[in-house]
């Protein structure tokens, strides 16, 4: 069932984000890349919502829209009740204190010429959170400690840290102003497997100990998303095809794409693998420039019927906090 909106920190309503394709000398628009095509969901306070899907599904675009980095083509983004899709850049800057972004690439997300301490403390300076130098230094050191970095390293430069440590710097920076929402955009996919667990645990720990902290966790690795999320939204070509609790996603996936996606992820256990359902899809993900009519998944779907190409299936409730966009379910 839909949660009451005052318990939701983020309420996305019918979000659309189209990128025009320009051709020619005069740069006329010839088509739209429909990166996000009518997406609605809520992020409840203190929960982690996983946004999962393959390339071109629009999950990264949603993350950027939520942070106000793109101006949506249509729809509303209600953050703490206010529609930020209509905010001016100035107003956005004010609320940016309350939300943060963690990036995928620990190498390009830190300014190589800034010391680690300065990187972590920059949000404090921008939003004037620590008026005195003493408070600033204290806060920066505290942030370092919280993410597991030696506070005496604040004057070092990014290239002196390892990949995992740099990602911790990124996390510390995101925490600087004590935000209520952190958008994590593939925060661990660029790290070694043995380091990924360190960062996952760190993120979980931070959420447990914070007064209120919600994560929008964007990733393509289903195993990680399953582990860290409370609820998961599966996306395909700009639309959500299924949203449910993380446990339910694995135990009772309903949308055929979700089922195919799950079966495509190998599990590190040969005995389990022997007995698993194996769904191999035909074809490839179509280009977002030219999505198939009706349900965009129907050409590859093993359950498709004639009606599937006629209309876009709406995301509908089918029971306990479980929504699916499929007419065959």
């Amino acid at each position: 069932m839909n949660q009451k909106s005052n318990k939701a920190i983020l309420d996305i309503q019918d979000l659309q984000m189209y990128f025009p394709v320009m051709r020619g000398l005069l740069r006329k628009k010839v088509a739209d890349v429909k990166a996000v095509d009518g997406v609605s969901f809520q992020l409840i306070r203190d929960e982690t919502l996983g946004l999962v899907g393959e390339s071109g599904c629009g999950k990264t675009t949603i993350g950027r829209c939520v942070l106000g980095l793109y101006k949506p083509t249509g729809g509303r983004i209600l953050f703490e009740g206010a529609d930020i899709a209509s905010f001016t850049e100035k107003k956005l800057r004010e609320i940016r204190r309350n939300m943060a972004l963690i990036f995928q690439d620990p190498y390009s997300s830190l300014d190589p010429r800034q010391s680690a301490g300065s990187i972590v403390g920059e949000p404090l300076k921008i939003h004037n959170m620590t008026p005195t130098k003493g408070e600033y230094n204290d806060r920066v050191e505290e942030l370092f400690r919280v993410v597991g970095l030696d506070p005496s390293m604040t004057d070092r430069f990014p290239h002196e840290f390892s990949g995992g440590q740099r990602q911790r710097i990124g996390v510390a920076r995101a925490l600087a102003c004590d935000p209520d929402l952190i958008v994590c955009d593939e925060p661990i996919s660029a790290l070694d497997v043995s380091i990924q667990a360190q960062i996952i645990n760190l993120l979980e720990q931070l959420q447990d100990s914070a007064k209120e902290l919600s994560y929008l966790f964007i990733a393509h690795d289903l195993s990680v998303v399953r582990h860290i999320s409370d609820r998961v939204a599966v996306m395909y070509l700009g639309r959500i095809v299924e949203i449910c609790k993380a446990r339910v996603l694995y135990e009772n996936p309903l949308h055929p794409y979700t089922r195919a996606l799950l079966s495509a992820v190998p599990i590190a256990d040969p005995f389990v693998e022997e007995t698993r359902e194996r769904i191999i899809l035909k074809g490839e993900v179509p280009s977002p420039l030219n999505p198939p009519p009706g349900c965009s998944f129907h050409p590859r779907c093993f359950m498709a019927v004639g009606e599937c190409s006629e209309a876009i299936p709406p995301l509908r409730d089918i029971g306990e906090d479980h929504q699916v966009a499929c007419i065959r379910v």
């Binding site: 920059e122 993410v147 720990q205």
Partner: protein, 298 residues
């Protein structure tokens, strides 16, 4: 408060910083010839600073009776038509060269960097307008442009500086524009926006410092070109005229007396050549030392 992470992470070995500087100097001075260039420039700077003490005579007024003397123990490089000591003029010419070089570069670089930064960062119409103007300026051969501006403004050292600065700044703007365009794509710029950084802050604190290294190399190399350009202008009779002591003007002056006393032209000519060469060497060395291997330093 969150419990601290296990200490094994906190005291991770992080590379000592000193070695980065040492590596810079090692690469920089790798080729002996760069050291040679550095020495030349050092001599140039010292000469310019201590010109008053080094020059044996007043470079601006001459003893008419001693006009066109050959090199002797009294006048080491001889005198010009007005009886001014060539040696002293050469020494003071160093001051002029450096003054013109540094001030012009300063003005051109400052203006060019700002324009390139704005064009590259904002893109769109702003970029188009700015860069097309830069392209137009670059379409003129530098000397011609400087000539044009000088003839409008008149002679004199300030006008030479203005003319040369205008001629040089499109080059800086171009390079800076390119650098800004590529730096703009980095995630840390997006991170800045995501945390609420203003455009001004992003440009000044994130893009500019990262563009500094290539710009330093460009500036150093252009200094040599600039001195040559100034010499050219003075030689052509625009720019600095006697009694001002400028090497280019000196070459022009002595041109008439080439058969009589070649030193008058050769001495300043040689000085120009050596100094420009030195700047190129140092610029080369800097470029090697600052290359991407050492990205993230300085």
């Amino acid at each position: 408060m969150v419990e601290e992470q296990s200490t094994s992470l906190e005291f991770q070995e992080v590379a000592p910083r000193v070695s980065e500087w040492r590596r810079f100097w090692r690469v920089f001075l790798q080729r002996k010839i760069v050291l040679f260039g550095l020495v030349i420039l050092g001599i140039l700077v010292l000469t310019a600073i201590f010109a008053d003490f080094l020059a044996p005579y007043d470079p601006y007024t001459g003893v008419l009776t001693d006009s066109l003397e050959a090199p002797s123990s009294q006048y080491w490089l001889g005198t010009d038509i007005q009886g001014r000591d060539t040696m002293s003029r050469l020494i003071f010419g160093a001051r002029t060269a450096l003054l013109v070089g540094f001030v012009t570069t300063g003005v051109a670089a400052a203006a060019g960097i700002i324009l390139g930064l704005i064009a590259g960062y904002f893109g769109g119409v702003t970029s188009m307008v700015i860069m097309r103007i830069m392209d137009a300026l670059m379409g003129f051969p530098m000397i011609l442009l400087a000539l044009l501006i000088s003839s409008v403004l008149g002679a004199g050292i300030q006008n030479v500086i203005i003319a040369l600065a205008v001629a040089m700044l499109p080059g800086y703007a171009r390079v800076m524009n390119g650098l800004t365009l590529s730096l703009r794509e980095n995630d840390y710029i997006l991170a800045g926006r995501a945390m609420g950084a203003t455009d001004m802050r992003t440009m000044l604190r994130h893009i500019l410092p990262n563009a500094l290294a290539p710009m330093i190399v460009l500036v150093t190399m252009q200094l040599g070109t600039l001195i040559l350009a100034e010499a050219g202008l003075s030689f052509l009779g625009i720019g600095i005229k006697p009694p001002g002591a400028a090497w280019g003007a000196m070459v022009n002056d002595g041109y008439r007396y080439l058969t009589y006393n070649p030193v008058l032209s050769f001495a300043p000519g040689l000085a120009i050549m050596i100094v420009v060469f030195a700047f190129q060497l140092v610029g080369d060395g800097l470029r090697d030392a600052l290359d991407p291997r050492l990205r993230g330093l300085l």
